[in-house]
C-alpha cells in the first residue's frame, strides 16, 4: 500500500472565506485562511468551538450545509481546483480521494444496516465493477487492518452491537477502503474515553505510516496534536492566528492565544502546585466580530493597534508564522537593529 509515495503538495488552501448567511446576518465562519499540506503530512487544526475549524474542513470535501457558502479563495487538491468541480465530480471525489471521519462514532454509522453492508457500500460507490465477494474480502481486510478481530462475525453485526472505540475503527476502515490521499479527521477521538483515545491515535499514526496519506486532524486537544501531527494551524474566530511545525508551536508559541491554550492544558512535568490558567473572556460573537485582531479583547498584551487593524503574518522561521502585532513590532525592531549594526539597506522582501 506504500506504493503511492508521492511527494510535494497534496492540498493547497488559499485565502479561503466561508460565510453562513443566517437570518440574523452574515457570519464569517472562516475569514481568509491559507495553508499547504504535503503528501504524507499530518496537520492539526486547533481551536475552540466555533472557531471555524470544522467548517473549513467541510468546504474541502464539499459538505458545507446551506446556508454555508464558500465566498472566496481557492482549494487545490492534487493540482485540481476543488471549488470549480461539479456536483457529480464532488460525489466522485468524496470517499475516493478524500475521506472523512467524524467525532461521534455512536451516531455516525447507520443503525439499521450491518457493518459489512456499510463498508461494501463505501467501496462500491467508487468501484462499480468490483464483485460482491471481492468487495466483502476487501472490507474484511480493512477491518483487520484497523485492528478488529473476528471479522467474519463483525461484518454481519449491527453498529449497536459494537463498542464506541470499535465503531470508530469501523469508521476509519470505511474511510480508508478506497485508499484516499487525504483523510480529514474531525475530532475523531473527542467522544471516546482516554484509553480508547490513545488506541485510536496509535492506530491512525500506524495507518498513516503504512498508507502515506495526508491527514488533517481537527481537534481542540493539544495533547492529541503533539501525539500525531507534523504541523499545526491554530484557529481563532475564523482566522488562522498561528501556524508552524508542531515543536515550534509548543516550545516557541508566537501568538498570545496559542500561549493561552498551552497554559490552560495540564502537563505531566508541571509542579504539583501549579494551577491551570484559563483564557479570560468569552469567544467572539461571530455576528459582530471586533475590528482588528479578533483575539485582542481577551489578550493581555493588547495594544491600541490590535483593536484597529488585523496584523499581517510574520515569519518566525521554518514555516512558523504568526499573526500578532507583538511579532510585527519585534520584527521591525530586529530590522532596525540589523540595519544599524551592518549599516546596510535591509533586504527587500
Amino acid at each position: 500500500m506504500a506504493e503511492n509515495e508521492k511527494t510535494g503538495k497534496l492540498l493547497e488552501v488559499k485565502d479561503l472565506h466561508v460565510s453562513f448567511f443566517t437570518p440574523a446576518g452574515e457570519v464569517k465562519a472562516v475569514g481568509g485562511i491559507s495553508y499547504d499540506l504535503n503528501y504524507g503530512e499530518v496537520m492539526g487544526i486547533v481551536g475552540e468551538s466555533g472557531s471555524g475549524k470544522s467548517v473549513e474542513a467541510y468546504s474541502i470535501i464539499g459538505l458545507l450545509q446551506s446556508p454555508g457558502k464558500v465566498i472566496g479563495g481557492s482549494i487545490t487538491l492534487e493540482g485540481e481546483d476543488v471549488l470549480a468541480k461539479s456536483k457529480e465530480e464532488m460525489i466522485a471525489l468524496r470517499g475516493s480521494k478524500v475521506a472523512m471521519i467524524f467525532q461521534n462514532p455512536m451516531t455516525c454509522l447507520n443503525p439499521v444496516y450491518t457493518i459489512g453492508n456499510q463498508l461494501i457500500e463505501a467501496l462500491k460507490a467508487h468501484d462499480k465493477k468490483v464483485s460482491k465477494q471481492e468487495a466483502a474480502k476487501r472490507a474484511m481486510e480493512m477491518l483487520e487492518l484497523v485492528g478488529i478481530n473476528n471479522v467474519q462475525k463483525r461484518m454481519k453485526q449491527y453498529p449497536h452491537e459494537l463498542s464506541g472505540g470499535m465503531r470508530q475503527r469501523v469508521m476509519i476502515a470505511m474511510g480508508l477502503i478506497c485508499h484516499p490521499q487525504l483523510l480529514i479527521a474531525d475530532e475523531p477521538t473527542t467522544a471516546l474515553d482516554v484509553t480508547i483515545q490513545a488506541q485510536i491515535l496509535e492506530l491512525m499514526k500506524d495507518l498513516q505510516k503504512k498508507t502515506h496519506m495526508g491527514i488533517i486532524f481537527i481537534t481542540h486537544n493539544l495533547g492529541v496534536v503533539a501525539e500525531i501531527c507534523d504541523k499545526v494551524s491554530v484557529m481563532y474566530a475564523g482566522k488562522m492566528v498561528e501556524q508552524g511545525p508542531v515543536d515550534d508551536i509548543f516550545y516557541k508559541p508566537g501568538h498570545p492565544y496559542t500561549m493561552g491554550l498551552l497554559r490552560s492544558m495540564p502537563r505531566v512535568d508541571a509542579e504539583s502546585y501549579e494551577r491551570l490558567i484559563p483564557i479570560e473572556g468569552t469567544p467572539v460573537d461571530m455576528l459582530n466580530p471586533p475590528e482588528g485582531c479578533p483575539f485582542a479583547p481577551r489578550c493581555e498584551y493588547a495594544m491600541k493597534i490590535c483593536l484597529q487593524k488585523m496584523p499581517p503574518y510574520v515569519e518566525l522561521g521554518d514555516g512558523h508564522r504568526s499573526a500578532c502585532w507583538l511579532r510585527v513590532q519585534e520584527q521591525l525592531q530586529r530590522e532596525k537593529q540589523g540595519a544599524a549594526e551592518t549599516k546596510e539597506v535591509p533586504e527587500h522582501e
Binding site: L63, P111, V112, E121
Partner: protein, 314 residues
C-alpha cells in the same frame, strides 16, 4: 421470538376479555330495548321476547352465557337487524366488502403518502413543500363525510360532464370502488405524508447521513437507503391501528356511498340495540386491531435491528 409471540397472545386474550365485559355492561347501560320501534309492542309481547332471547335473566348470568357460547365460537344470532341470522355469518359476509375497499384505500394511501412525504422533506421550504402542507392539512382536518360528499357530488352527476362513477355502490364493479377508496384513503394518505416528512427530516439531520455523504454516495441512495428506512419506524407505528380501522370499514364513507359494509353495521347495530350484533362487531374489530398491532411489532424487528423482541421489545 416464540416466547414473545405467546406472551402477546396471552395479553391479547386478556385485553379481549376486558373489551367484552366493558362493551357488555355499557351496552346494557344504554336506555332502550331492541323491541322499540314505531309502534311499541305490548308489555306481554316484550316479556315474551325477553324470555325468548334470554334478556330477562340478570346481566351477570347473561354475560356468563355469552362467554360460554363464545368459547365455542358461537357469537349468537342477530335479534333485530337481520333477525335470527347468525352474527358470525353477518360479519363474514360484510367484512370482505369493507376489507377490500379498506385495503385498496390504505394501499394507495401508503403508495402515495410515503413518497410525497419524502418529496416534501427533500424539497423542504420550497413551493412543493408548501403545496403538500396545504393539501395534507386539509385532508387531516376535514371530516371524512365532507370529502366523501364532495366526491360523490362532483363525480356522480352533480357537475355536468363529470359523471364518471355510479351513485349506488354495486359489488364487483370496479367503478363503484373508485370514489369510496379515494375518500377513505385520503385521510391516512395525508397523515402518512406528514408523518413521513417529519421522520425524514429527522433522519436527514442524523450524523450517519453526513457519513453517507462523505462516502460519496449519490443523493438517491442517501435518501432511499439510509434515511427512509430509519424514517419508516415511526410511520409503521401509526400504520398498524390505522390499517385495522380502515379495513373494518370507514362508517361514514360506507354510509355516504351506501356500501353494505361492516362499518355501517357496527354503528347501526348500536342504534338498533341489536345486542349480539354489537358484541360481535366490537369483538371482531378489537381482535383485528390487536392482531394488526402484533404484526406491526413483529415488523419493527425487520426494519430496525436494534429492537430486541426477546427482551419485551425494548
Amino acid at each position: 421470538m416464540t416466547k414473545y409471540v405467546l406472551k402477546r397472545v396471552l395479553m391479547a386474550v386478556i385485553t379481549l376479555f376486558v373489551v367484552i365485559c366493558l362493551t357488555f355492561f355499557l351496552m346494557n347501560a344504554v336506555p332502550g330495548t331492541p323491541w322499540l320501534s314505531e309502534k311499541t309492542p305490548s308489555e306481554a309481547t316484550i316479556a315474551a321476547l325477553n324470555e325468548k332471547y334470554g334478556l330477562d335473566k340478570p346481566l351477570i348470568v347473561q354475560l356468563g352465557k355469552y362467554l360460554e357460547n363464545l368459547a365455542h365460537l358461537d357469537f349468537g344470532n342477530s335479534i333485530k337487524m337481520q333477525k335470527d341470522r347468525p352474527v358470525l355469518e353477518i360479519i363474514l359476509t360484510m367484512f370482505p366488502i369493507s376489507a377490500s375497499i379498506g385495503a385498496i384505500a390504505i394501499l394507495w394511501a401508503i403508495l402515495v403518502g410515503v413518497p410525497l412525504g419524502c418529496l416534501a422533506a427533500y424539497r423542504r421550504g420550497t413551493w412543493v413543500d408548501s403545496l403538500l402542507r396545504v393539501i395534507c392539512t386539509i385532508g387531516i382536518s376535514m371530516p371524512g363525510f365532507v370529502i366523501a360528499t364532495m366526491l360523490l357530488h362532483a363525480f356522480t352527476g352533480g357537475i355536468e360532464g363529470l359523471k364518471f362513477f355510479p351513485t349506488i355502490f354495486q359489488q364487483g364493479t370496479a367503478k363503484s370502488y373508485v370514489l369510496p377508496c379515494l375518500a377513505l384513503g385520503f385521510y391516512p394518505m395525508c397523515y402518512l405524508s406528514r408523518q413521513t416528512r417529519t421522520a425524514m427530516l429527522d433522519a436527514i439531520n442524523q450524523e450517519y447521513i453526513k457519513t453517507a455523504r462523505a462516502k460519496g454516495l449519490r443523493n438517491k441512495t442517501i435518501i432511499f437507503k439510509h434515511a427512509l428506512r430509519n424514517a419508516l419506524i415511526p410511520v409503521i407505528t401509526y400504520l398498524g391501528p390505522q390499517i385495522a380501522f380502515t379495513l373494518c370499514g370507514g362508517f361514514v364513507v360506507e354510509t355516504v356511498f351506501t356500501i353494505p359494509g361492516l362499518g355501517r353495521y357496527f354503528v347501526s347495530s348500536i342504534s338498533n340495540r341489536d345486542y349480539p350484533l354489537i358484541m360481535g362487531t366490537t369483538i371482531f374489530l378489537a381482535a383485528f386491531i390487536i392482531v394488526m398491532n402484533l404484526i406491526v411489532d413483529l415488523l419493527y424487528k425487520l426494519v430496525d435491528p436494534r429492537i430486541n423482541l426477546a427482551k419485551g421489545g425494548e
